[in-house]
């Protein structure tokens, strides 16, 4: 995708001359949709990104939020969608690497990853090939670098047939003293590049990510995909930690999209400064690279640091200790962003000389046409309850993801108090005596049916997941995925989803402290549904009550089963309709989700609470099925299919020995209804109107194991 004529004209006007070839390539990448958010920036002002806890909000490599006076958590999320289509293993692996480096560049140590993955229909061979490759890539990279993958989501929907999504989020820990930002501070400081040598890999990755996937992308765009080396990343993590230990880093930025050009330019631009860079000084993996290649290659596992001149030698020593390449490539200046290069002919040329701020932030935004989405009408199917129950519980979207998370090391780091498979993961942050809960995901069926309401539901669902392990939300980052924004219906749906997510996060009082936008997820198979992946963290005080212990999602078999929360009275976007056919409006969402979430978190902390499981994907049917084990069952009655399959989030099933305590907690907040009793017979016995269903633990397990069975 060459630099557009209109952009070229702007650049010529700014520079007062034609840009050089290297400048043209740099503008093309930095002004791409992927780097400059040209079509989404006008929408992002909808997000509320402030709270008393927010230390660094949107715009840096990762956001920083305070857990207490000294302990900070970092949050970041990134998409690696197009690369994961072309080369699922390497595309997904390098997505992990990138977001981990974003964490490192804040002076933080990465402590947890989540992956939200979206593929075409599970029954299609190509979807399975991508799914297996992506999971294997994440496993390969994440496990080796010693960062636990503790959660995420997996969804299958025909809208992802030609364009899967891989959204990776990372949380890290740092302290007030150790925190670093990507704001260059002082002219005269040196710019030091540490990590892998630069080769001709990942050329033009940013611009590749900013257009639709072509039908021959798997062969044609392979050179735009990088290959990761987790061993180098692990050494870089440790080296970064050592540099921060010795306070050697003034500012830092990881090399991602647009390579060295992107990182170094954005770093100095943020400080209102410039740079003088000698591209020949970059340590290179292959001979004969030209200036543009050195500047824009997306070779992985590299960081650029601003370092005081007297510290450069010590930085080099530490890099050497970890067998990492290190080169002083130039210095921070108060002039333009300038790169020079000496070619084979021995002549030194200035290949870039432009204001850093103009390169980094000068791209004009696009004002695109949009068509607002319309809600579907109610046309409910007349399905048999048993068939629907079996289809919904055995749907790969709602089924067990054990096949996935078993391949991820989710316990390295010795912090994982609640493991994957429950509503949210819980990490022990002993430094602050805080349990840090993580939930990440989106539901394409919801946002495909109703982009605005579906996106609100995504936010409420993630918050409810946190509450199920006793945590209240602290902050969130989003990864907003959409199709080609130049199509008015696609952009309209995307914009509605962004608004919905923003509105719900405001209603929940959760600041959205950062994120990522990925557009042009479009192919010959059509656009992806608007997919607003949200990664939300919450906290609970570990100093009192249950410590890091949280109620499980599975029933104990000893209590009363209560339904808490307000049903939404509709089935739009549900797994039930996906199987039974028909259509419906999207259910009503809780008016005050913040209070519902806080009340549920309180209930989860009660001694009398034996199990908590949120009601969302697949509705009550799936929540109850997941509660059943060999030792515990449930005896439950509901009115009909609407009640059994309604997916309205902000609800939960609570198993308790003290129903009155739960009623008290929800008094004036949301209705509490008795569903029935937990039992010890390991059987789910359901009365749905006139129909009677019964499934023992083996029968439930068999249906829920569809992914494991098919991919074993």
């Amino acid at each position: 995708m060459p630099l557009a004529d209109a952009d070229r004209e702007l650049v010529v006007g700014e520079l007062g001359r034609d840009p050089t070839r290297t400048e043209t390539a740099l503008f093309e990448n930095l002004w791409s949709e992927h780097c400059a958010y040209r079509s989404s920036r006008p929408l992002l002002s909808a997000f509320d990104s402030e709270s008393d806890d927010v230390v660094v909000g949107p715009g840096d490599d990762a956001a920083v939020v305070a857990l207490d006076d000294d302990t900070y958590v970092t949050l970041g999320v990134e998409s690696h969608n197009h690369p994961s289509y072309v080369d699922p293993f390497d595309g997904a692996a390098t997505g992990v690497g990138g977001i981990v480096r974003d964490t490192m560049s804040m002076g933080a140590y990465p402590v947890g990853l989540t992956d939200s993955l979206y593929f075409g229909d599970f029954d299609r061979e190509h979807s399975r090939y991508l799914f297996e490759g992506v999971v294997e890539g994440i496993s390969h990279y994440g496990n080796a670098i010693g960062v636990p993958t503790v959660g995420g989501s997996v969804a299958f929907h025909d809208g992802y047939e030609g364009n899967p999504l891989v959204n990776v989020a990372c949380v890290g820990l740092t302290t007030e003293d150790r925190m670093v930002t990507a704001v260059a501070a002082e002219p005269g400081n040196e710019l030091v590049l540490v990590g892998n040598a630069t080769g001709r890999d990942g050329l033009g990755g940013a611009s590749f990510a900013s257009e639709d996937l072509s039908e021959d992308a798997e062969t044609e765009d392979r050179p735009a995909v990088q290959v990761g080396d987790p061993y180098a990343e692990k050494r870089l993590i440790e080296c970064n930690e050592a540099l921060v230990d010795e306070s050697l880093v003034v500012s830092a930025r990881d090399l991602g999209a647009a390579g060295l050009g992107g990182a170094s330019c954005e770093l100095v631009a943020k400080g209102g400064l410039g740079a003088q860079i000698d591209l020949n000084a970059v340590h290179q993996r292959e001979p004969g690279m030209n200036a543009t290649e050195i500047l824009l290659a997306e070779s992985q596992e590299r960081m650029v640091y601003e370092v005081r001149p007297e510290d450069a030698e010590r930085v080099a020593e530490l890099a050497d200790r970890f067998d990492l390449g290190c080169s002083v490539i130039g210095e921070v200046t108060d002039g333009n962003y300038v790169c020079t290069f000496e070619g084979d002919d021995g002549d030194r040329e200035t290949v870039v000389d432009a204001p850093a701020a103009y390169l980094a932030d000068g791209a004009p935004t696009n004002d695109l046409e949009r068509v607002d989405p319309v809600q579907p009408e109610r046309d409910l199917p007349d399905a048999r309850v048993a068939e629907a129950f079996e289809a919904v519980v055995g749907d790969p979207n709602t089924a067990s993801k054990r096949w996935v998370y078993r391949q991820y090391d989710h316990e390295v780091g010795a912090r994982t108090a609640v493991r994957p498979g429950d509503d949210a993961a819980l990490l022990a942050v002993r430094e602050a005596e805080t349990g840090l809960a993580l939930s990440a995901g989106a539901e394409p069926r919801w946002t495909a049916a109703a982009p605005y309401e579906g996106a609100r539901a995504v936010a409420v669902e993630n918050a409810t997941n946190l509450a199920s392990v006793g945590a209240t939300p602290l902050a969130a980052v989003d990864c907003l995925n959409g199709g080609n924004p130049e199509k008015p219906e696609v952009y309209g749906a995307f914009a509605a989803a962004v608004d919905g997510l923003a509105d719900a996060c405001s209603a929940l009082d959760v600041p959205v402290v950062g994120g990522n936008v990925s557009l042009y997820n479009d192919s010959a198979a059509g656009p992806v549904p608007p997919t607003p992946t949200l990664a939300m963290v919450g906290t609970r005080d570990a100093a009192d009550g249950r410590g890091y212990d949280a109620p499980p999602t599975a029933f104990a078999g000893e209590g009363t089963l209560l339904h808490v929360g307000e049903p939404g009275g509709a089935l739009g976007g549900s797994a039930y309709l996906a199987h039974a056919g028909g259509s419906d409006r999207f259910p009503d969402l809780p008016r005050d989700p913040k209070t519902v979430v806080a009340s549920l978190a309180g209930v989860a902390g009660l001694e009398s609470t034996l199990a908590v499981h949120d009601v969302s994907h697949g509705g009550l049917a799936v929540t109850l099925a997941e509660g059943v084990s060999d030792d515990a069952g449930a005896d439950v009655a509901v009115d009909g299919s609407l009640e059994l399959f309604d997916e309205t989030p902000g609800r939960a099933v609570v198993e308790t020995t003290d129903p009155d305590a739960v009623r008290d907690a929800f008094d004036g907040v949301a209705p509490v209804e008795t569903l029935g009793e937990a039992t010890t017979d390991g059987t789910l016995s359901l009365s749905v109107g006139d129909a009677e269903l019964a499934y023992d633990a083996d029968a439930v397990r068999e249906r829920r194991a569809v992914i494991e069975r098919e991919l074993a």
Binding site: D229, A232, R321, D323, E411, R430
Partner: protein
Amino acid sequence: MTVAVVTFGGSNCDRDAVRALSHLGIDAERVWHEDGLPADTEGVVLPGGFSYGDYLRAGAMAARTPVMAEVRECADEGVPVLGVCNGAQIGCEAGLTDGAFTTNRSARFQCEHVHLRVERADTPWTAAYDEGDVVEVPIAHGEGRFETRDDRLAELEAADRVLFRYCDADGNVTDAANPNGSAGNVAGLLGARETVAVMMPHPERATLPDVGGTDGQGVLRAFA
């Protein structure tokens, strides 16, 4: 006593091992392999991870680093040496114990909690347990399938070198309870001395009471 947790490039359970040992009141520190073992080393842990990226073969490169000559010397002198996961692979590659750990039967990485049967309780690593006890400890590996020649396995068994076997929750050593296809369901074994042991499951992940249970504490108490 100071336990040296030997850290290679790519090790990733080194901090966890130190934290777990410290929780038990055992003095431990991470030691960068190029720096060599400290003079006061009275115990060695080879931690889990992906030393040298598992390139070539898991553990093969680390086993040939200079620090391993020092570890071997320690082992010969009776200093307790424990290899966990990648450390177990390194231990095998370095000849501290017999056999090899190779690709799981599933050909995939597996992270899950498994049950182990304590095969003998008269070693420093298992003194906290009774023979036949069943403990729950996590595994996290892609190359954890123990392999050796059939006659060598018989010799190991005859010499009582098997420390732990994969079993079900009731202690039955079955193929279904064997997560990775290990020969003889072997999950951990002793070296030439009882003070040297390697195991694929992670005792340090089953030591801190606030995460993952405490069944692994007994193994680490060998360093107390």
